[in-house]
Symmetry: C4
C-alpha cells in the first residue's frame, strides 16, 4: 500500500475528529450572559484539543513524509493512533462539562498519554522498516520531545486526582512545547 | 468510472463512520468513577467496531486494487456494502447501551452478517468482471476466510438470543481471524 | 477552478450527508422487540434516502465528467444543490420519526423536489457553458428522466397532504426509475 | 509542505462543518404546521451560514492558488481560521434556537468577526511569504472587501445588543457583498 493512501485516510479521520468535536459544545438553554457561563470550560478544552489535533496532523504528515510504502504493521499502528485521537471529542466534552473535576481531567490526560504512546509505537514501527534510510534516522534521531511529553502526560494524569489545575497547566505546557517549531527536523526533511 | 474515485468516496464514508461512532459514547452525567461504569460496555463495543471498520477499510483497498474500472453493478454493490457498514455506529450504541442484552447483541451480529454478505456480493461482481484476469482469480481463489466469517456471524446472531456472551466471543474471534495477515494475498498483489 | 476540485468537495459533502444520516436513527430505549418497532419507519426512510444520495452521487459524477472547468455560476449552482441534499438527514428523521404523517411526508417530498430543481439548474448552467461541445449536448439531449421525476416529486408533495402512502410510493418509484441504468448516457460518455 | 495537502485538509474540514451544521436543525416534536414554526429561525440562519461557508471555501481556494508551498506560520494561520469557522454550527444553532435574541446574535457576529480577522492574518502571512511574487501582490492589492466586511461584522456585533434585526441585516448584506464576483481577482489569477 502506498503511503499517500494511508495519509489521505488519516487526514480524513483527523479532519472529522477536529470538526465533530464542536458538537460537544452544547447550545446553552436561554440567551443570557449567565447561560453562557457553564460552557466556558468546554470552550477552553475545545481550544486545547483543537491545538493538539492540529499538532498531531502536522507531525503525522512529517512522519509519513519520511516513509514511502506501508506494511500491515504500520497500518495497524496508525489505526491504533487514530483510535486514541478519536476519543478526543469524548474526553473534551467529559472534562469540559464537568468543569475540570478530578476524574474527567485524569481521563483527558489518559487519552493524551495513550495517543502519545500510540505515536511512539507508530514511530518505532516506521523506524524499524527504514533502518537503513539515513534521512529518517537523522531527522528522528533525537525525539526528546515525544519522550518528554509522554512523561508529562503520565504525571498530569496522576496529578489530576489531587490538583486538576496543575494537570491542565501541564497539558497546556506540552501543547506550547510542540508549538515551537522543530527547526532541525524541518530542515533535514526539506533539504533531502 | 475509474476505480480510484469509488475508492476515494468509500474511504471518505469509512473515515466518517469510524469517527462519528464516538458520538454514541455518551458523556456520562457526574464525575465519579461510578458514573463511568455504564459506558464501559459501549467502550468495549466501540473498540470492536473500530477494529472491524479498520479491517474492512484495509480489505476494501486490496479488493479495489485488483480492479481498474468499475461499472454500475460494482458501484451499487459497493454502496450496498457501505449501507451496512453505515449501521455500525447504531449497532454499536444499541448493543453497548443495553449492556450486551439478547436482542441488541443479535442486531449487532445481524449487521456484521449483512456487511459480510454485501462484501461477498461485491467480491462476486468484481470477479465476474475480471474473469480472465489471472491476478484477481489467483489472489482471491481461496476466500475461505470470508465464508467462515459469514457463517460465524450467522451462528453468532442466532446464539445471541440464548447466550449473548458466546455470541460476542464469536464476533471477537472473527475480528482476530482477520487480523492475522493473509500473506498469500499480499504477495500475489505486490508481485504482480 | 478545475472541475476535479469541485468534484472532490461535492464528494466529501455527499459522503458526510450519507453517513451522518445514521445519527437520526435514534437508539431505542429498552432492548425488547417492541422497542425496536418505533424506529422501523425511520429505518425504511433511511434506506430510501441512502439510495437517493447514491443516485445523486453517481449522476453528479457523470455530469461533472462532461465538463472540464467551472466558473462562478457552476460553483454556486453546485452549492445550491448540496444545500438541498444537506437537508436529507433532517427530512429523513422528520418523516421517519413521525411515521409518514401528512406534513413530514410533504416536507420530504419538497426537499426531493428542490434538490431535483437544483439539479436542473446545475445542468442548465453547465450546458450553457458547453453549448458547442457535442458530447455534452448529445449525452444530455433527452433528459426526460429529470423532468419526469421533478414532476413526480411535485405531485408527491401535494398528495402527501391527503394520502401519504401514495406519496411515498411515488418517491420509491422515482428512485427505481433512476436505478435503471441510462445505457445511452454511459455509452456516449465512455466512447468519447 | 505542499499547498495542495493543506488545501485538501481545509476542504475536508469545510465540507464537514457545512454538513454537520444540519444536526443543529433539530427535528421538531409533532407533525403539525405549528410545530415547524420554532425551527424557522434556525433554518434561516442555516441558509446564511451555508452561504458564508460557501464563500469561505471559494475564497480559500483562490488564496491558496496564489501560493505554492506553506510554512509553519501559514499552517497555523490556516488552522486558526478553521477554528473560528468550526464554531459556525454552534453559532448557527445558538442564534437560531434563541430566535435572534440580543446575545446570540452578538455571538454569531463575533464568530463572523473572528473568522474575518483570521482570514486577514492568513492573507497577511501569505503575502509576507510571497512579497516578490507579482501575481499575488496584484491580485490582492486592493482587498477593500475584506476590510469593509471586518468593520461591518464589528458594527453588527455591537448593534446586536440593541437592534438584533439590524445586525442580521448587516450579516446578510456582507454575504451579498461577497456573492458579487470579484472580476479583477479572477482575471488576474486566470491570466497568469
Amino acid at each position: 500500500m502506498k503511503t499517500n493512501r494511508l495519509e489521505a485516510f488519516s487526514d480524513g479521520v483527523l479532519a472529522i475528529i477536529i470538526t465533530i468535536m464542536v458538537l460537544e459544545l452544547k447550545i446553552p438553554e436561554g440567551h443570557t450572559l449567565e447561560s453562557l457561563k457553564p460552557i466556558i470550560p468546554t470552550f477552553i478544552t475545545y481550544i486545547l484539543s483543537f491545538v493538539y489535533l492540529g499538532i498531531y496532523w502536522n507531525n503525522h504528515h512529517h512522519l509519513m513524509h519520511a516513509s514511502d510504502t506501508v506494511n500491515g504493521k504500520v497500518l495497524w499502528a496508525n489505526l491504533h493512533l487514530l483510535f486514541w485521537l478519536s476519543l478526543f471529542p469524548f474526553a473534551t466534552g467529559y472534562m469540559g462539562e464537568n468543569h475540570f473535576e478530578y476524574l474527567p481531567t485524569a481521563v483527558y490526560g489518559f487519552v493524551l498519554l495513550m495517543a502519545s504512546l500510540a505515536w511512539g509505537i507508530l514511530f518505532y514501527v516506521l523506524r524499524q522498516k527504514h533502518s537503513n534510510q539515513t534521512i529518517f534516522r537523522k531527522a528522528y534521531n533525537r525525539v526528546w520531545k515525544a519522550y518528554t511529553s509522554t512523561g508529562l502526560y503520565a504525571i498530569g494524569t496522576v496529578i489530576s486526582f489531587f490538583y486538576p489545575v496543575i494537570a491542565i497547566s501541564i497539558y497546556v505546557l506540552v501543547a506550547i512545547l510542540w508549538f515551537i517549531p522543530n527547526k532541525q527536523l524541518e530542515k533535514t526533511i526539506i533539504t533531502n
